[in-house]
């Protein structure tokens, strides 16, 4: 068998033995048991039992009886919901609530690309992304020439109502001599510009409050023996371009009309994402697991028909730069945790090309037998308890579904149980059933 990555092994080992001043021996033991369980699954070994690292997001609010709106704005309720859910249900890894307390941030942005409770959505519904062509077809050169400038002066003014005036400043690269940029800030001196500066002030305060909230709640749970299941996130370069900048239609047309520029932009984004992802992970104690939600590379059906791209386009446009980014992360000791939205059964033979014991692949729709067969000796599989059973079914249905997953995917180790996606509509009794059943039935003997 191919060799795994020493760096990943070392980083997982460090995660299992953290230099954290735990309040007691018991807490330390519980924390280390949990990280060890997850690390063993990633390294394709058999842990003592199948690890639980649920993708919870707004389920925290549902469980604690708050609305989505409340946990996006009220730090006490936000923290209470997370702490209560985690301490009650006791998973092995918990999800950092990265969308909680973002209400004030989104408000300060006057976000045009997000709907959230109170702003286009009812109080009890999680936020939704509004896709658009925020980078035009003829702006690849501008993006490639200076991505930071593009994001600052083109992208932000388009997705933020309050920061429109950023479009008026001159490029920051114009500060090439002390006498060249005396007038470069004139746009921010106008009444509209001054309003944007006020918005930037509000944004910074909201951002400060958000970070403090996350640090506080995660720190509290760590001190109770619960590790978060990731410390950083990233995206496939094609998705950054397609979701955030060009939009679905835009990027699909680019595959035909300007494939070379599209590929150049994806290459450029590899470096940007690698730097962002690694620095975030380092800031979070070098947490080994990187969350990577995937969007635009999927097929629609089991046989690969009707998808967002053909297998050929997947191999040409999507996979190479994603694989390159994953390679950089793995070489730095990090574990890409792909969330493969859609049906990836027809992509299995392509995505199996990674060093063994370095990745987690979380599937939404997949032939679990084929997935285990193709990836079993290579990638830790995460999933795949159907979300509709969690939201519509009974605890009985949940146990039956979990048993099926454990019997197939859990065989021999290298498996983490989870639902196929997050939802604020999961019934608390169903989540409890999934956790209790796994702790009982998922024990390796």
């Amino acid at each position: 068998m191919e060799k795994t990555s020493d760096k990943v092994q070392k980083n997982l080992e460090a995660w299992c033995n953290p230099p954290i001043p735990f309040p007691s021996k018991e807490v330390e033991k519980a924390y280390k048991e949990r990280t060890r369980r997850i690390a063993d699954a990633i390294l394709l070994k058999k842990p003592d039992r199948i690890p639980l690292m649920p993708m919870w997001e707004f389920f925290y609010a549902k469980y604690a009886g708050y609305t989505c709106e409340e946990v996006m704005y009220d730090p006490q309720k936000a923290e209470d919901s997370v702490v209560r859910t985690v301490t009650d249900l006791q998973p092995d890894g918990f999800q950092g609530p990265i969308f909680f307390m973002t209400g004030p941030v989104l408000e300060a942005y006057d976000s045009k690309d997000v709907l959230w409770p109170g702003h286009g959505l009812p109080a009890n519904q999680a936020h939704q992304f509004v896709e658009g062509e925020y980078m035009k077809a003829n702006e690849y050169e501008a993006f490639l020439n200076d991505p930071s400038d593009f994001m600052l002066r083109y992208y932000l003014p388009r997705v933020s109502g309050s920061l429109k005036a950023l479009a008026t400043i001159t490029p920051l690269r114009n500060n090439f001599a002390y006498f060249t940029n005396f007038g470069g800030w004139v746009g921010l001196g106008t009444p509209d510009g001054l309003k944007a500066l006020e918005a930037l002030r509000n944004l910074s305060q909201a951002s400060f409050q958000y970070v403090n909230f996350l640090v506080s709640v995660i720190g509290k749970l760590v001190m109770m023996g619960f590790p978060p299941w990731s410390g950083s996130l990233t995206e496939a370069p094609f998705d950054v371009l397609g979701d955030t900048l060009r939009g679905t239609k835009g990027i699909m047309l680019d595959m035909y009309r300007q494939p070379d520029l599209l590929k150049q932009a994806c290459e450029k984004i590899v470096g940007i994402m690698a730097e962002f992802t690694i620095s975030t992970a380092r800031a979070n104690g070098n947490h080994p697991i990187v969350f990577v939600p995937l969007h635009k590379g999927t097929a629609a059906t089991r046989d690969g028909k009707g998808g967002f791209m053909s297998p050929k386009q997947f191999e040409e446009f999507y996979w190479p730069t994603l694989r390159k980014l994953m390679g950089i992360l793995i070489d730095n000791g990090f574990v890409p945790n792909l969330l493969c939205e859609g049906d990836f059964t027809s992509r299995l033979d392509i995505i199996k090309d990674v060093p063994p014991g370095t990745c987690i692949y979380h599937f939404e729709h997949i032939d679990i037998h084929k997935a285990k067969k193709v990836l079993g000796d290579r990638v830790c599989i995460r999933g795949c308890v159907p979300i509709h059973i969690m939201t519509l079914g009974t605890p009985y249905d949940v146990r039956a579904a979990a048993k099926e997953q454990i019997d197939v995917l859990g065989e021999g180790g290298g498996y983490i149980i989870d639902t196929t996606m997050a939802s604020e509509q999961i019934k608390p009794e169903n989540m409890k059933a999934l956790i209790d059943f796994t702790k009982e039935y998922g024990v390796y003997r």
């Binding site: 035909y256 509709h388 079914g393």
Partner: protein, 214 residues
């Protein structure tokens, strides 16, 4: 020559398509014949999508080329092409959900297959579906959705159609990447689909049975 346009459009050769249309218009050809060729090519595109050799990007691209062709041809047209439509299909993304990629693809495929499509957009209130059924008497309704919240919105929409006394007048298909038999039962729809072709074959089946019984 006419065969050529069908070929290059079905092969998605945008530049060649536009050149060919331009020269045929300059040669004074009847614009309707050009549109007929385009229609024939689009049928091939749709068929390839059904067979699984074309994918969503191919559909989107063919739609863009077709749009450019009609923009060139329309100003030269003196009479409208008579369009024969198969029957009405009402479609929309249900309340609380703003996902539109899948719905737009289904709309495109239904249109390509000759249906009269009434696309109600996204986040469509329950009453809007009911009103549209009353207004158009379309025999097929497609409810699209991606989020888990859509399961309940679909159920509510179908309940409302039933309450309005219209349930036996329409056949309803729910569609989206997460649909399955369980959700079909939960919402009490007539069918479910995870790709665009499911909606087309469902609509075809409904139309065939309504013509038979009529």
């Amino acid at each position: 020559m006419q065969k050529n346009l069908v070929y290059v459009l079905s092969e998605l050769k945008e530049k060649e398509v536009l050149e060919m249309v331009k020269s045929r218009l300059e040669a004074g050809e009847d614009p309707l014949r050009i549109l007929d060729d385009a229609k024939q090519a689009m049928k091939i595109v749709g068929k390839r999508f059904e067979e699984g050799t074309y994918f969503i990007p191919d559909l989107i691209y063919s739609g863009e080329i077709l749009r450019a062709v009609s923009e060139m041809v329309r100003p030269k047209m003196t009479k409208q092409a008579a369009s024969k439509r198969l029957g009405g299909v009402i479609i929309g993304t249900v309340k609380g959900d703003i996902h539109d990629i899948g719905k737009n693809i289904v709309t495109f495929m239904l249109d390509l297959n000759g249906f009269e499509v009434y696309d109600l957009g996204i986040d469509v209130p329950v009453e809007t579906f009911v009103e549209k059924i009353r207004e158009t008497k379309a025999p097929v309704v497609g409810l699209s959705g991606f989020l888990t919240i859509a399961f309940d919105s679909m159920k509510e929409t179908i309940d409302a159609i039933e309450k309005a006394g219209l349930r036996d007048k329409v056949k309803i298909i729910i569609g989206g990447g997460n649909m399955n038999e369980d959700i079909k039962k939960y919402t009490r729809a007539d069918a479910y689909g995870v790709d665009a072709m499911a909606a087309v074959s469902f609509a075809n089946k409904v139309m065939a049975s309504t013509t038979k019984s009529a």
